[in-house]
């Protein structure tokens, strides 16, 4: 009786679909209660998880729930411009927060942390002892110039001189879309050396750190601002202020960031 069987199967499928959709329409409670999001650059993840925990622990009980959303600074900026529900934005470079401010989407950005570049070297590459030795590395990995870490690395190499930059560029085997992936390539042995933030290396004792001369360092600042379309402007502003509080500055300093207060 194939026809009957087919109809039964169709009916079964239909009933299953209805039951399933019903179950999906009402989710667990904690998901329906809307948190308020702080948008932050990926490199701030460890610091912001600690800082937001501290912020919420000391906040009044009636405060709404805070959550963090991490991504590339420029992606987050574009999303806020198009209506993303961020109450504050923390960017890994001045450029993105300035653009957001210029468009009227956030208040005046505040400098809340600094960073600096270092040379990360794999444990086996003993030949490299200073930044000047970099052209002697076999395989170099850098962040792509489209992301802040790549742009800073480019600035740093250019300051050292055109011939140095050219010699280094010859040895570059990969431009990564994310500074953490630069670190990962050196860790895995796919590259000998790369330019990363000092904050990327704290949790990675396997890599050797070679300091880069302060004169070659570009200005690396992290900026935060409350957004203007925010549903919780006061909460956003308080979070930005909290970034400058001594406890937050201590937290960031312990992760390698430079203090601003």
């Amino acid at each position: 009786m194939p026809a009957l069987c087919r109809r039964a199967l169709l009916r079964q499928l239909g009933a299953g679909a209805v039951a399933g959709l019903g179950a999906l329409a009402c989710g667990p409670r904690e998901l329906t209660e809307d948190p308020h999001y702080v948008f932050a650059a990926s490199s701030l993840r460890e610091a912001f998880e600690l800082i937001s925990r501290d912020f919420q622990a000391n906040a009044p009980a009636e405060d709404p729930r805070l959550a963090l959303s991490f991504g590339g600074s420029s992606t987050l900026r574009v999303q806020i411009e198009h209506g993303a529900p961020a109450i504050a934005f923390a960017s890994a470079d001045a450029r993105q927060s300035e653009r957001l401010h210029a468009g009227g989407h956030c208040e005046t950005p505040q400098l809340f942390a600094r960073n600096r570049l270092v040379l990360a070297v794999g444990a086996e590459s003993k030949a490299l002892t200073s930044f000047d030795d970099l052209p002697r590395a076999e395989r170099i990995v850098l962040a792509d110039a489209a992301v802040p870490a790549g742009r800073y690395a480019q600035l740093c190499l250019a300051r050292r001189g055109a011939s140095f930059e050219a010699a280094v560029r010859e040895k570059v085997v990969s431009f990564e879309s994310n500074v953490r992936r630069v670190r990962a390539k050196i860790e895995s042995g796919d590259a000998d050396a790369g330019i990363v933030y000092v904050t990327d290396l704290l949790a990675t004792p396997a890599l050797r750190v070679i300091e880069i001369d302060p004169q070659l360092q570009p200005e690396i600042g992290y900026y935060a601002a409350a957004t203007t379309r925010s549903t919780q402007p006061a909460l956003g502003r308080r979070f930005v202020e909290h970034l400058l509080a001594p406890t937050s500055q201590d937290t960031m300093a312990s992760l390698g960031f430079g203090r601003v207060a």
Partner: protein, 269 residues
């Protein structure tokens, strides 16, 4: 299923072997991660539990929309031969060749607060961007071409004479569609739906841009894995294995349905 004599199946297999190895490598790596970490660590993390729920919820809703609207449209595409049908057919397949991030950006430009439509929706509190409805929309756009393509092909395979016979026996067009066309096409529709669902479950690029990476709201499994990847590779791998397992189980179930459908046809082909 035994090979006919004279067919060079051994050679075909040998030529295909590199591809098989390449396909097996990531699966084996995931299985190794699963053996090392266990399913527990993926499930124990509240972030991944929430993300898995978001993923299952959004991809199922997306599938319901795709099948609900896509089945009649695929039928229309299968029966129409004109230029309009050909153009529309091409348009529906376009998202397959577009990078998902571009699809996400296009959705954001079309429905974000900067577009007239998005602003109008936003003023009424209906803006879909950066909500779970954005996840569903991104999944529908990226996955529906797979369903439409498969469903159209499945409808085209139906012998038209069967439909004519049903009509001459007095069935109304509606009855023909529900009692003859749909059951005959069902195995193909199920396979196409499985493909579309799997694509929706794995959707990453369009979701990241259009829905944002908002934990507890729009963060699906692929987004949570991407975010964890830089911090805890092993946890990200365990979660990937979990996702792969859920996906494999569902595909297996759907394949079972498809097989059941085939058997019902009683070897009519």
């Amino acid at each position: 299923m035994s090979a006919r004599r004279g067919e060079r199946l051994g050679l075909s297999f040998a030529l295909g072997l590199p591809l098989l190895v390449l396909l097996a490598v990531p699966t084996l790596a995931l299985l190794a991660a699963l053996a090392r970490e266990g399913l527990g660590s993926g499930l124990a993390s509240p972030q991944f539990r929430a993300a898995l729920f978001t993923s299952l919820r959004t991809s199922t809703l997306a599938l319901a929309l795709i099948v609900g609207f896509g089945t009649p449209f695929a039928w229309w595409l299968a029966r129409r031969e004109g230029r309009l049908a050909r153009v529309l057919d091409g348009l529906t397949q376009l998202p397959i060749v577009m990078p998902p991030a571009v699809v996400g950006l296009a959705l954001l430009l079309a429905l974000g607060t900067q577009s007239p439509l998005g602003a109008w929706l936003d003023a009424r509190g209906w803006s879909p961007a950066f909500r779970s409805s954005a996840v569903v929309l991104a999944q529908v756009v990226v996955a529906s071409p797979f369903y439409l393509g498969g469903a159209r092909a499945s409808f085209r395979r139906i012998d038209r004479r069967m439909l004519d016979v049903a009509a001459t026996l007095g069935a109304t067009p509606g009855q023909v569609f529900l009692r003859v066309t749909l059951p005959l096409a069902l195995p193909g529709l199920a396979a196409a739906a499985a493909m579309a669902w799997a694509r929706a479950l794995g959707e990453f690029g369009a979701t990241l841009i259009f829905a944002g990476n908002l934990p507890g709201r729009t963060q699906t499994m692929p987004l949570a894995i991407w975010e964890t990847f830089d911090v805890d590779l092993d946890l990200a791998l365990a979660a990937s294995a979990l996702l792969a397992l859920v996906g494999a189980l569902t595909l297996w179930l759907l394949r079972g349905l498809e097989g059941r459908g085939e058997r019902m046809r009683g070897g009519s082909r």
